[in-house]
Symmetry: D2
Subunit: 218 residues, 4 copies
Amino acid sequence: MSDKAIYEKQGFGNRSGFGNSAALLMVDFVNGFNDPALFGGGNIGPAIQSTRTLLDFARKAGLPIVHTRVVYAEDGSDAGVFCLKAPGLKILTEDAAASQIVSELTPVPGEYVIRKTQPSAFFGTSLTPWLVGKGVDTLLVTGCTTSGCVRATVIDSMSSNFRTIVVTDCVGDRAMGPHEANLFDMGQKYADLLTSAQVMEHLERRSSSQALGKSRAT
Amino acid sequence: MSDKAIYEKQGFGNRSGFGNSAALLMVDFVNGFNDPALFGGGNIGPAIQSTRTLLDFARKAGLPIVHTRVVYAEDGSDAGVFCLKAPGLKILTEDAAASQIVSELTPVPGEYVIRKTQPSAFFGTSLTPWLVGKGVDTLLVTGCTTSGCVRATVIDSMSSNFRTIVVTDCVGDRAMGPHEANLFDMGQKYADLLTSAQVMEHLERRSSSQALGKSRAT
Amino acid sequence: MSDKAIYEKQGFGNRSGFGNSAALLMVDFVNGFNDPALFGGGNIGPAIQSTRTLLDFARKAGLPIVHTRVVYAEDGSDAGVFCLKAPGLKILTEDAAASQIVSELTPVPGEYVIRKTQPSAFFGTSLTPWLVGKGVDTLLVTGCTTSGCVRATVIDSMSSNFRTIVVTDCVGDRAMGPHEANLFDMGQKYADLLTSAQVMEHLERRSSSQALGKSRAT
Amino acid sequence: MSDKAIYEKQGFGNRSGFGNSAALLMVDFVNGFNDPALFGGGNIGPAIQSTRTLLDFARKAGLPIVHTRVVYAEDGSDAGVFCLKAPGLKILTEDAAASQIVSELTPVPGEYVIRKTQPSAFFGTSLTPWLVGKGVDTLLVTGCTTSGCVRATVIDSMSSNFRTIVVTDCVGDRAMGPHEANLFDMGQKYADLLTSAQVMEHLERRSSSQALGKSRAT
């Protein structure tokens, strides 16, 4: 029996769907993860391009928008076990070029920029309170890497009871094996897998029907 | 370039090693995850057998010991997004046979039993405070499934700055593709991968040298 | 200058107000905290009576409802520093009479019952995810004691970005000094202080105006 | 019966004591909380002076040292309910003079500086993982205000199973009523209350006896 068939037989892989209010999260789209000589490569570049389109859409639609960066202290005082496994991460300090968000996705005022030291965008941060404050119930997850910070973030997003969408063309990884394996795991257990086109189509349809509802109510 | 070579070139895959004080964690070794008709199958059975040996060792060595179970309320009041993706989980209630720890690993008094509703043993639980209270700095992770609750737990363990060891013959999954893919991810970024024999050898060597140190000091 | 004048001059004590969707939380209204021979006394009894009225209202209004209990394991395996400061807490085990919710407020199916070992209803629990799943943005806090688990819960509620209302006649304490002092602190910095009558009036007015809105829209 | 007598009769107010490894935490000793025209006043100035002595001691003794600052984003993107209750907090941005640590306690390299937006130094931060990484089991809490960020931090410290010491001459508040009331609550339920002299005496005695133990062992 195939892996997929086993999951299907055991009742995994259902859709959790959209709620009523979505936010867009971009995980670690910083220069260092877009540079194959540092932590990048694979399909991360194309993921950034696709996310640019989705970000434009989200800005026009007025969605709450969050960016994350990995940022360690200059003196290494906050480096922990993660930096034992991957010591190179310590170069990602506040002012390092490698830790700046890529130019295609530069934040604008009002967008929330989270500094983090661990894989998940939720761990040791105020992401959940921020989403609570915005009345968000659905998280659109983009970023890199699929098998690293995206996967960790998606688990916490689902565990926090946000309906979670992995935007498949807007997540990327340095290596394709882990990218595909993690999409499989997330789709089976934690999140719905949709393309950016599907996400935008859903949100537009919803927005039109809400506008229609409002116009009818007037 | 192979996936592994990419990770090596970018500086991942280093060892985080052992600290001074380890605890043993068994994730979700309950009947329902040992039953191929429910959520089990694959190499979960053999993982339980290997863990039995490690548990005996840990009990003799006096290590702090933690078990987790997935437990949902009878009335479904605490089911969330995870139960939308995998509705079958809701059968795992306090008294259901499927949610009892397998007989090979039945907890004894003093061992901490965590009830959880999400993948990670840390999420929404008191696992970190409990480990803090025991002075633990190293977590030996066993359980199932490798690609599910073990992976989620390992990310949080590392993020919480516990040196984390995945005991490779003591973790199992319903399907071998995800099992292998997740061992790769965890070994590269979050945890050291060791067999139970390697773990026991390390702890015994350490224990002998401590006893020696004490006897010399007398 | 009076304490209150200092806070006013420095800009504290503003109202955070109601959001759009409130839940009712009852903190530790269990027999042991209603018994002056154990952990009760003071104005806890009257607070329970007032909460009974508010609970009836909340049930009719369809608000999400949460109860908390302090529950420690029979074998003491999860007792920590809190039980060093107050060893008596350890009698509050799953089946102990002292840890059962008072008869006036017995939960009904669908109401979420949280077991906790620490003061805050949020600490090491799934309260935030549960509230996220219900789309809650406002938390009505009742329970005991004002200076203990209520205060701790209110700090976390506000920190989690829920608009927080302490229902003043529905919180109680074993001693009146700490009760009053903590109401002052919470009102200045974390929560609005309203009586149950004020809360019910607000929710009814809101409900009427929403019903009106809907009828106009039809 | 006095408030204190009630607590004594019910078994509160025991000592939790010291563990084996202490860290020093200074909560929000920044210019804005040392300025009566902003959020300061009361006994905060003397608390800073006493903390200076304790900090010198801790540096010599090699204790892990943590500072916290309240820091909000320039664009207000991370302001939440706390800023509804106390809008003035929003002036505390990364570069504002009011949010810089007071000159007496300027951090040196290797000391961990936490930026936070909520009362507790633990909420939405990596303080617990950092303490885990340092093998800390005991937290010495200093800072301001006693009734605000110190109290919130102490609850979380105790809940996280760190033995918690409030250093009574090293915590301060803008108003004395809340200062005293919160010392009472914390001493009864969450933390031991010791002067800085008592803390230093304990740590010196401990250090001497360890040095003696080592010299005997040689």
